[in-house]
């Protein structure tokens, strides 16, 4: 059993915290990881900044620009992550990012480095499912890395089953239409129907809900429909212009988990 599956077996209402590597300053990556875990985060999702993050809203876009300006890139990130498992020995850690930087780094080199530093899984939202299935899945398996797939209210049942079959981690339920950090009020009824429809499918993977979840209320609501939630933009927003990013992040998690 991998670290992700173990976490879901041992805990309920998991909190997956996203943050952008190299933000707010270049060397915040590991201190933030440690602070989040110490404060109660159950899973970490580290964003690899990209110049053109299509699935992200303004908050994560801005953090990505700042991180890139700080000098973050994949060689620097893997350098920092050498000490990842010393800092957070047991917590599942995912890398999230867009395909282009991975392609330039070299797909297999990337997977090998990720596995070497103790990464458990990857979220590559613009990697097409067909390409994943044919080319990437065997490579992910070779390096013991798990793929996390997004599903949305528009994803067909056939496709959800296919994604579920290919994953050994969890499914990432996008809460509604929009990019990360979306602030428009969701259509509550439609959202309810969507969460219930997915829950009734008896999928083999656990489910985390993400996009637009910003506080304890949102987290608790997500937990009533799934195995937990993913929070990113709200944390990034809290980290803007703060003196002590790790302390702010720890406080943020304590309030959510409260």
């Amino acid at each position: 059993m991998n670290r992700i599956q173990t976490a879901f077996q041992q805990k309920k209402n998991l909190l997956n915290m996203y943050f952008t590597a190299g933000y707010p300053s270049l060397h915040d990556t590991l201190p933030l990881a440690q602070a989040l875990v110490d404060a109660g985060a159950d899973i970490l999702e580290i964003g690899m900044p990209f110049s053109d993050p299509l699935a992200d809203g303004p908050v994560i876009q801005r953090s990505s620009s700042v991180a890139l300006a700080n000098g973050m890139n994949l060689p620097v990130l893997f350098g920092q992550l050498q000490a990842l498992r010393a800092a957070v020995p047991d917590t599942p850690v995912l890398l999230m990012g867009y395909l282009n930087p991975v392609l330039q780094f070299g797909v297999e080199t990337f997977l090998q480095k990720a596995a070497d530093v103790g990464i458990d899984g990857l979220i590559l939202p613009d990697l097409p499912l067909d390409e994943y299935e044919e080319t990437y899945h065997p490579l992910f398996q070779k390096y013991g890395l798990k793929a996390v797939f997004l599903i949305t209210p528009q994803t067909s049942e056939t496709r959800i089953r296919r994604l579920d079959a290919l994953s050994e981690a969890f499914l990432y339920l996008v809460s509604g239409p929009g990019t990360t950090g979306g602030t428009t009020l969701p259509d509550v009824e439609a959202q309810q129907e969507y969460f219930e429809r997915i829950a009734a499918m008896n999928l083999k993977n656990p489910r985390l809900i993400g996009f637009g979840i910003a506080d304890k209320k949102g987290f608790d609501h997500a937990c009533s429909h799934a195995d937990g939630a993913i929070i990113g933009s709200a944390l990034i927003r809290a980290l803007e212009d703060v003196e002590d990013a790790p302390a702010t992040a720890a406080h943020f998690v304590q309030v959510i988990k409260g």
Binding site: P58, N100, F149, T155
Partner: protein
């Protein structure tokens, strides 16, 4: 049998370029389009509506004009395909009339678009007004500044122009924002992309809608020169929609040399350029695997051209394939060379071209075409929108 350059594979690849690298949030939108576009385009009722609009609204066929004084200047036989005479002043409307009819058949109630120079934005706002559909156009703040007349046109046509302030605040970023809008509005909205870029099926869809340019060229050349096939077809390439349209019906005619003209900006290696075929490497931009300008870490870099329609950091996957396979030849033209071509066409033929188009005209000097050769330059747009830029550079124009 030689494979056709026209048709991408089932997954939207031209050689090694193309595909649909989209996040799950976009997958249903793109999939709906992919599964329906060919059937809708082939539908006789669609074709009747399209042909009617192209003739009576756009003003097609556009003339193929033999430019005698320009021909004399370059010692070859130059024809200009007058896309600048299309309604709204550029070829862009060929695509938008087709896509608005497509959007109606898909039951869409709202239209979004990105624009660089503003020509695609105007062409989209125009067809939305015609069909009574709400229209939102994303435009970089930098482009809003340098293409003010087109911003005014879009607003007059009833479109909402949304100012994009992320990144370099130009076409790339406007495209990102349009895609994000589509993610947020997956059911009722159609995204009319303006070039042969983006995830499959967009490059093929836009190329098919622009192919009317080369279809007409063949018939007009037959009438004027006695043969359907010219020796050269020349077109400028930003994303590459007018070039795709001008090349389309010649792609599988190896005797026709296809010349794609990029913007060198201040010079290819000056650090201020948009010459993607030289400076680009394979990667993914806006959902397509193609050549793009990026740094060693795969971050997309900011291109530069004085012309707002050519400073896109990628090229359409069809063009990347035409370059890689040697089917098309790429030439890069600097800002100054383009400005000289503006002046030259204005004075020799009485036609003020768009700055984008002027890059194609400037390539005439580099073709090495002989006196018996027939060269067709796709005159993709007129220069009205660039008057402010021309005024600022009067010293280079006169």
């Amino acid at each position: 049998m030689t494979p056709s350059y026209q048709q991408p594979s089932a997954r939207g690849y031209y050689g090694e370029f193309g595909g649909a690298f989209v996040p799950e949030m976009l997958f249903p939108n793109v999939e709906e389009l992919r599964t329906r576009y060919l059937e809708i385009l082939a539908d006789p009722d669609f074709q009747i509506d399209l042909q009617h609009l192209l003739r009576d609204y756009v003003g097609r066929p556009t003339p193929l004009f033999e430019a005698k004084r320009l021909s004399e200047r370059y010692g070859t036989r130059v024809f200009l395909k007058r896309e600048d005479l299309c309604h709204t002043g550029a070829h862009k409307i060929n695509n938008t009339v087709g896509q608005i009819l497509l959007a109606q058949r898909l039951g869409k109630k709202r239209i979004i678009a990105e624009t660089g120079a503003g020509q695609h934005g105007v062409a989209t706002a125009t067809v939305c007004a015609l069909m009574g559909l709400p229209c939102v156009v994303y435009m970089g703040a930098t482009d809003i500044e340098r293409q003010a007349p087109n911003v005014a046109r879009m607003r007059l046509l009833g479109a909402e122009v949304r100012r994009v302030t992320s990144g370099s605040q130009t076409l790339k970023d406007a495209t990102n924002e349009a895609i994000r809008d589509w993610i947020a509005n997956p059911v009722d909205t159609h995204y009319i992309i303006g070039s042969v870029v983006g995830p499959h099926p967009y490059p093929d869809l836009v190329a098919r809608l622009q192919a009317v340019i080369s279809e007409e060229m063949r018939a007009q050349l037959l009438e004027k020169t006695g043969t359907e096939l010219p020796d050269f077809v020349v077109a400028c390439v930003g994303g590459g929609s007018n070039a795709a349209g001008a090349f389309y019906h010649f792609l599988d005619e190896p005797s026709v040399r296809l010349i794609a003209v990029e913007a060198a900006g201040h010079g290819i290696h000056s650090g201020h350029s948009a010459a993607t075929s030289v400076l680009g490497t394979p990667g993914i931009i806006h959902g397509s695997r193609t050549l793009l300008m990026q740094d060693e870490h795969g971050q997309i870099t900011e291109p530069y051209s004085l012309s707002a329609g050519l400073d896109y950091p990628g090229i359409g996957p069809l063009h990347a394939h035409l370059g890689a396979s040697g089917r098309a030849e790429f030439i890069a033209i600097t800002d100054d060379e383009a400005l000289q071509a503006v002046s030259e066409l204005s004075r020799l033929e009485g036609i003020i071209p768009a700055l984008e188009t002027a890059h194609a005209l400037a390539a005439l000097a580099q073709l090495g075409a002989g006196p018996d050769d027939v060269v067709v330059v796709n005159l993709s747009g007129r220069g009205d929108k660039d008057l402010e830029t021309y005024l600022k550079n009067m010293d280079k124009l006169l």
